[in-house]
């Protein structure tokens, strides 16, 4: 499992039942937006994550609908198990993140 995938899963496991959208996940994981969607696509493809369009009226809200992501119950369990097996030295995480600290866009 790649380090960005671990960071995305850790971010989503903070509140597994809570729906979040791509930009928000990127900010929590401190990863840039371009790296988030490929990871979410793979996780969704293997059934760990599910997504849906936000149920709002875009005209009323004055903005387009967001795409919400959430870990499936099975995905949350498997993510916890997978993360428990990997050991990622802090130095590797810091090496990946410093460029994006303070603005993970």
């Amino acid at each position: 499992m790649t380090l960005p995938t671990q960071l995305v899963l850790r971010a989503m496991l903070i509140e597994p039942a809570q729906e979040t959208y791509g930009l928000e996940i990127g900010q929590i994981a401190e990863l840039p937006s371009g790296t988030i969607h490929p990871i979410l696509a793979r996780l969704e493809g293997c059934g760990w994550v599910e997504s849906r369009w936000e149920d709002i009226d875009p005209v009323k809200e004055g903005r387009p609908r967001r795409r919400f992501y959430r870990l499936t119950p099975d995905g949350a369990e498997r993510a916890r198990n997978a993360l428990a097996r990997v050991h990622t030295p802090r130095v590797l995480v810091d090496r990946l993140r410093p460029r994006f600290v303070g603005g993970a866009l």
Partner: protein, 198 residues
């Protein structure tokens, strides 16, 4: 539209984007007070953008009948990285320019000051074009979904960061394309997992 036509069309658009970014880079370097290292970086990448755009245009013109060769696909990858690097540096350049405007009490874009420039507003044309280009890199069945996702995220991003966001989405589009093409689908392009849910 055939696979080859799409590749050629994407390469041509990427070449155009490289030229736009190059021009934007020259404009920033000449019109803003930048630190020398940042200006050097921007000029170096602007020169690479120029070379890559020329190579991609030649490749598109010559490869009228066949698939692109491996070097051209490598150039396409390089192009997205150069665009990303320039977007990153231009984002920093913009922040630096904003500091200068703020410090000297100048105004941005005529009668709009820095504070009001940060208020939520519709995305500009360049970020929208970059995001639209990123969507066109993706497999056809996935385009409407990601067009919607990127559009709303672009609105959610603070105004001064939108260009940088758009560049990063474009730079990541090839990776997203790879992720999406690896997923199992039915013959009409629907993801297998999604098909089971319906």
């Amino acid at each position: 539209v055939s696979h080859r036509d799409r590749d050629r069309s994407n390469a041509r658009k990427l070449a155009l984007e490289l030229i736009r970014v190059r021009d934007l880079a020259y404009d920033r370097v000449h019109n803003y007070e930048l630190d020398p290292d940042l200006a050097d970086n921007i000029m170096h990448n602007a020169t690479r953008a120029n070379e890559l755009a020329a190579r991609l245009n030649v490749a598109v013109d010559l490869d009228l009948a066949g698939d692109f060769d491996r070097d051209t696909y490598t150039d396409l990858g390089r192009a997205s990285r150069v665009i990303w690097a320039l977007g990153h540096d231009l984002g920093r350049a913009r922040a630096r320019a904003g500091d200068l405007y703020s410090r000297y009490g100048l105004r941005v874009g005529g009668n709009q000051d820095v504070a009001t420039a940060n208020v939520i507003s519709p995305p500009g044309r360049v970020p929208q074009c970059l995001v639209a280009l990123a969507v066109r890199v993706l497999p056809v069945p996935d385009r409407p979904r990601y067009a919607g996702e990127f559009r709303v995220e672009l609105v959610d991003v603070p105004h001064p960061e939108r260009l940088r966001y758009a560049f990063r989405v474009l730079a990541g589009a090839w990776q997203l394309r790879r992720a999406l093409t690896e997923l199992p689908r039915t013959s009409d392009g629907v993801l297998v997992r999604r098909a089971k849910e319906r």
